[in-house]
């Protein structure tokens, strides 16, 4: 995985979010516009250029107790504003494993 520091150099190619894992139980979370974390992708703050992305990432990294390993990930935003993961990895992080084992807690 790309470390947050390396990611600072990355130029984002489309709508993106910051995602991480919640510290106490490790579940997948997304940085929200309210400067907190949510397990619900629809609440994620969307960034559209690299300055915004860097700022969101910096803020996320600063919240070290809330969540660990924050990084920028691509998403797709539908015409209705619905947010979907932008790649298979994020799809798997969102819906759980693809191998027929239960994804729910």
């Amino acid at each position: 995985m790309t470390s947050p520091l390396e990611q600072k150099k990355i130029k984002i190619a489309g709508p993106s979010i910051v995602t991480a894992n919640r510290t106490w139980d490790g579940i997948v979370v997304y940085r929200t516009t309210a400067k907190s974390w949510s397990a619900d992708l629809s609440e994620a703050a969307i960034v559209r250029n690299s300055d915004e992305a860097k700022a969101l990432l910096a803020e996320s990294i600063a919240d070290d107790v809330g969540a660990i390993g924050p990084y920028i990930a691509p998403v797709q935003v539908g015409a209705d504003g619905k947010i979907e993961p932008g790649n298979l990895r994020e799809q798997i992080r969102r819906t759980g494993v693809t191998i027929g084992q239960s994804a729910q807690a």
């Binding site: 106490w24 070290d64 298979l88 494993v97 693809t98 191998i99 027929g100």
Partner: protein, 551 residues
């Protein structure tokens, strides 16, 4: 079985309370993630895609039934009801909560198991033959020596901050089930002309981005000198190993760059300084360890009991017996391999219920002992032959009697993109599809011994380089692509596979494997010619042609 002493128990318990305190301080914000990361890794805790992953060591693959039950308990209470046995005699739990980890560790500590040195740049779990102590023709039980090395290297300061992780594997049989040639140090127990026990020492093997087969550095090191010799290797590695570049930090790179002759001269120099020191092992020390390994009170039993003779009429039993049951060094007993590769299932997974039930079966039929092998299967090491039919029936009820050990569906697969944060592609669904394609056991038997190994990235946790057919997932333009190799093996004739051509898409992998298998069936000169023999005879060219002719 091995009985741990007071020192081990104290060590393990102290570790748990220390970690409990560290977790508390992390969750209160007193420790930052940067500060905490090294501490959690020292306790086998990784962050993966969905959650923390917790890796527990199973030294030399030996488990007592109370230990297996404790693993089942962890799976049930702190995880999602299953655990994943890996290629390194470890078990991993994929959905652990950090806040609950100290409790899980404490529950495991009660039965003497822990997660120390299951990650980080230190000496990892020393692995061995899962048939240790029971395989016919073995020089002696290799676990005695694994245990000696385990004791010496656990929390040893010189082995705690190596340039990179370090893996030792030991075998004592002609047939290498411990894959010693793909380890940093591989040890093969042998006897010299005087009948003394010692080791052939191999060094510099490993998979990952830059795979190497280990080279013999010394043909005979006396048992009493093995710690000093290992220490000499480690010192040379510690001195010259690359710490500036993680991709070049493993000892295999150093051995490759210096060349085995120069490397061995350096080791020899170092060794002469330290061999006649406190590192020389007294017979008493070895005897003490030896005495802690207890063996069952075997009965005198017939080679061919009636129960077995009768069951032989059942073709299903016979299908299972043929590939799951192996000869034991004591007459009337067998070693039973338990396939964790059911059709359509993730290789290496076992549910809490299966683990508990297996513990019961091991108590009933295997003197309370279970083994874990690097092929991600389990074994019962001491089953009386008369009990085989009853055991088979019980295993079948648990879904643990798939008759596919060493066949095409006995696949090694890493967790891949379904779990692993380093992955580029999925591994497990490929394995699942292949087990469905080749679910017909008659076909699988017709094909014979054929190992498929799958990794979801170049780190090669699924040992793809040494699969008879190896499958490596890579990423290309955001898509999963799979590179196929042929001709690898991890046994005494270890070799790396040869890439047969451009990568193929997720949906094509099973078709490609079918093509390779069909080509093999058409090319083999007689049914006894195994896949690897055909590859050896003809090279990869005919397989390559077959696979790419239509693509």
């Amino acid at each position: 079985m091995y009985a741990y002493d007071e020192i081990d128990r104290t060590l393990v318990n102290e570790r748990v309370s220390e970690f409990r305190d560290q977790v508390k301080r992390r969750l209160s914000g007193e420790l930052t993630e940067d500060e905490f990361k090294i501490l959690r890794l020292q306790n086998g805790v990784y962050l993966q895609l969905h959650a923390y992953m917790f890796r527990v060591a199973i030294p030399y693959g030996t488990l007592a039934t109370n230990q297996l039950r404790a693993l089942a308990h962890v799976a049930r209470k702190y995880d999602r009801g299953y655990g994943h046995f890996t290629t390194r005699q470890n078990i991993q739990f994929n959905w652990i909560k950090l806040a609950e980890l100290p409790d899980a560790l404490e529950d495991l500590a009660k039965v003497g198991i822990h997660a120390m040195q299951t990650s980080g740049n230190n000496m990892r779990n020393v692995t061995s033959d899962q048939w240790a102590g029971v395989a016919p023709g073995e020089i002696e039980d290799p676990r005695i020596w694994s245990e000696l090395i385990r004791q010496h290297t656990t929390l040893h300061p010189e082995f705690s901050f190596l340039p990179r992780k370090f893996k030792i594997a030991i075998t004592a049989s002609d047939h290498d089930r411990a894959a010693i040639k793909i380890h940093d140090i591989g040890l093969r127990l042998i006897k010299n002309e005087k009948g003394e026990t010692g080791f052939e020492v191999l060094v510099g093997g490993g998979l990952g981005r830059t795979p190497f087969i280990a080279k013999t550095i010394k043909h005979f090191v006396h048992g009493r000198d093995i710690l000093s010799y290992i220490e000499a290797i480690l010192r040379v590695y510690n001195q010259y190993g690359r710490r500036d570049n993680i991709y070049k930090a493993r000892i295999k790179i150093l051995v490759h760059e210096l060349g085995i002759e120069k490397f061995s001269r350096e080791v020899e120099d170092e060794w002469q300084h330290i061999r006649n020191s406190s590192l020389e092992i007294d017979d008493e020390v070895i005897e003490d360890i030896r005495s802690r390994f207890t063996y069952p009170a075997y009965e005198k039993l017939p080679h061919m009991p009636d129960e077995l003779r009768q069951a032989a009429a059942d073709p299903d039993f016979e299908a299972w017996r043929k590939n799951s049951v192996a000869p034991h060094k004591v007459q009337g007993y067998s070693i039973v391999t338990i396939s964790l590769k059911p059709t359509g299932g993730p290789p290496g997974d076992a549910t809490a219920e299966q683990m508990d039930a297996l513990a019961d079966l091991a108590d009933k039929y295997s003197f309370g002992e279970i083994r874990v092998g690097h092929e991600q299967n389990l074994a019962l090491p001491h089953v009386a032959k008369r009990d085989l039919p009853a055991l088979w029936k019980a295993l079948d009820k648990l879904g643990l009697a798939t008759p596919n050990v060493n066949l095409i569906t006995d696949i090694i697969a890493c967790p891949g993109l379904d779990y692993c944060s380093l992955a580029n592609a999925r591994s497990i669904p490929i394995a699942q599809e292949l087990t469905r394609r080749f679910a017909n056991h008659e076909l699988a038997n017709l094909i014979g011994r054929l190992h498929i190994n799958i990794s979801g990235c170049i780190n090669a946790c699924g040992h793809h380089h040494v699969g008879h057919i190896g499958i490596l997932g890579v990423e290309k333009n955001g898509e999963e692509v799979y590179q196929i190799t042929i001709g690898g093996r991890a046994d005494e004739s270890a070799a790396l596979g040869t890439l047969i051509g451009p990568g193929v898409k997720f949906d094509e992998v099973a078709d490609v494997v079918e093509d390779i298998v069909e080509a093999y069936l058409a090319l083999r000169e007689r049914p006894e010619e195994l896949f690897m023999d055909t590859v050896k005879r003809l090279g990869v060219e005919p397989f390559k042609e077959r696979v790419y002719a239509t693509r």
